[in-house]
Amino acid sequence: MSEIIGIFNDASTGEVIERPLTEEELVHYNLALQDSAKIQEEVQKKLNDFQSAKEKLAKLGLTEDEISAIVGGI
């Protein structure tokens, strides 16, 4: 994996250090990114399901306003 440069700020001293993340810090960083990716994946799936549901309701003859009244949205 490529090197990740981290910025480390110390509020008590005002010191700012820019250095590559250690192996341990890389583990923390990657776990955070995995969480972020998982959440975005779930959000995107729900968005897709929502859009699919609206399209199916439209095929049943419901208008946009009627669909919004049921599922919310704009």
Binding site: I4, I5, G6, I7, F8, N9, D10, A11, S12, T13, V16, E18, L21, E24, E25, V27, H28, Y29, L31, A32, L33, Q34, D35, S36, A37, I39, Q40, E42, V43, Q44, K46, L47, F50, Q51, S68, V71, G72, G73, I74
Partner: protein, 324 residues
């Protein structure tokens, strides 16, 4: 003939040198010969016994003085002497220089004799500021109708938000870490995260830090996240995350995240957070509102900082406020 020896009547002749003539006479005993020459010195006899000791000789004359020896090592310091008596009083100093000319205060009324007054700056006048007071006190007006009426007083305790820290922008990075922003002075903190730059790829996550170490234990961060985007409302709850998601995907420059952190340094309570962010350019270009409420499962560890991570580089400028 040089020499001839004849020993008695023995017909023995010893010739020392060439003999030119030898005469031998027979008959009676002849007269005693002349004494022979001294014989050769004999061998040295054995040493005799030691003689008795001689009498002591007279004392010799005194020898010359020897050369000076090398210097010895320094001796230890002596004890301090007793204090001497007080000195005599010094002589009186010379008279000082003449002071500057005083200010003449003249009467401005017509016909009134001018009276000259002198300002003597060598005398300390009455102070304008009241005496006394304590560190942190302020001057307070004591009477609205009396000029210069004031007294020292203790200001009311500060309330509301107090700005504690502002970070510098710096260079773009995907990992930003802030230590010692939370102390035991406050229990409640507001962290304003302003994006001065973002490569707009992924969402923003937050993890606590303790003594310089990021905490990413699985399940430490429990949260319920609600997002509004594209006319839909999405709710996601998690009890196994290693971080808090506090901004949706593709936060662009100008995005602001409000993050409330409660009791971060407590060793008795879990640390709860509440964040809200509005990203104006989500994947589809649709406005995206993200609200996240969460807490840590552990209680014993005090957190003094936080770490912000994204999959793409960004520059957050954070302001940390303490709430009294």
């Amino acid at each position: 003939m040089s020499s001839v020896e004849i020993n008695n009547q023995v017909n023995t002749v010893t010739l020392s040198e060439t003999v030119t003539q030898v005469e031998v006479y027979g008959g009676g005993v002849g007269p005693q010969g002349i004494q022979g020459i001294v014989g050769m010195q004999g061998t040295q006899g054995p040493q005799g016994t030691t003689g008795i000791q001689g009498i002591q000789g007279i004392q010799g004359i005194q020898g010359l003085q020897g050369i000076q020896g090398i210097q010895g090592i320094q001796g230890i310091q002596g004890i301090q002497g007793i204090q001497g008596p007080q000195g005599l009083q010094g002589i009186q100093g010379v008279q000082g220089l003449q002071g500057t000319l005083g200010t003449v205060i003249a009467s401005t009324s017509t016909g009134v004799p001018t009276t000259s007054l002198w300002v003597d700056t060598s005398i300390t006048g009455s102070a304008v500021v009241p005496t006394g007071g304590a560190t942190g006190q302020v001057l307070t007006k004591t009477s609205s109708s009396v000029d210069y009426s004031m007294a020292w007083s203790t200001p009311a305790s500060a309330s509301g938000l107090t700005l504690l820290y502002t970070s510098n922008a710096g260079s773009p990075s995907t990992s930003w870490n802030f230590d010692n922003i939370f102390t035991s002075t406050y229990n409640y903190y507001l962290v304003k995260i302003f994006y001065s730059y973002s490569a707009t790829v992924s969402g923003l996550t937050m993890q606590f830090r303790s003594a310089g170490t990021t905490i990413s234990t699985a399940g430490e961060y429990q949260s319920s996240q609600t997002s509004f985007s594209g006319g839909s409302v999405t709710n996601i709850s998690s009890t196994s995350n290693s971080s808090f998601g506090i901004a949706g995907a593709q936060p662009i420059a100008g995005t602001v995240v409000d993050l409330w952190v409660n009791y971060p340094t407590s060793t008795s309570y879990s640390k709860s957070i509440f964040s809200q962010s509005f990203v104006s350019a989500y994947v589809t270009g649709t406005p995206y509102l993200l609200i996240n409420a969460g807490r840590t499962t552990s209680t014993a560890t005090a957190y003094d900082g936080l770490s912000l991570s994204q999959g793409s580089s960004f520059i957050p400028v954070i302001k940390v406020y303490g709430l009294s």
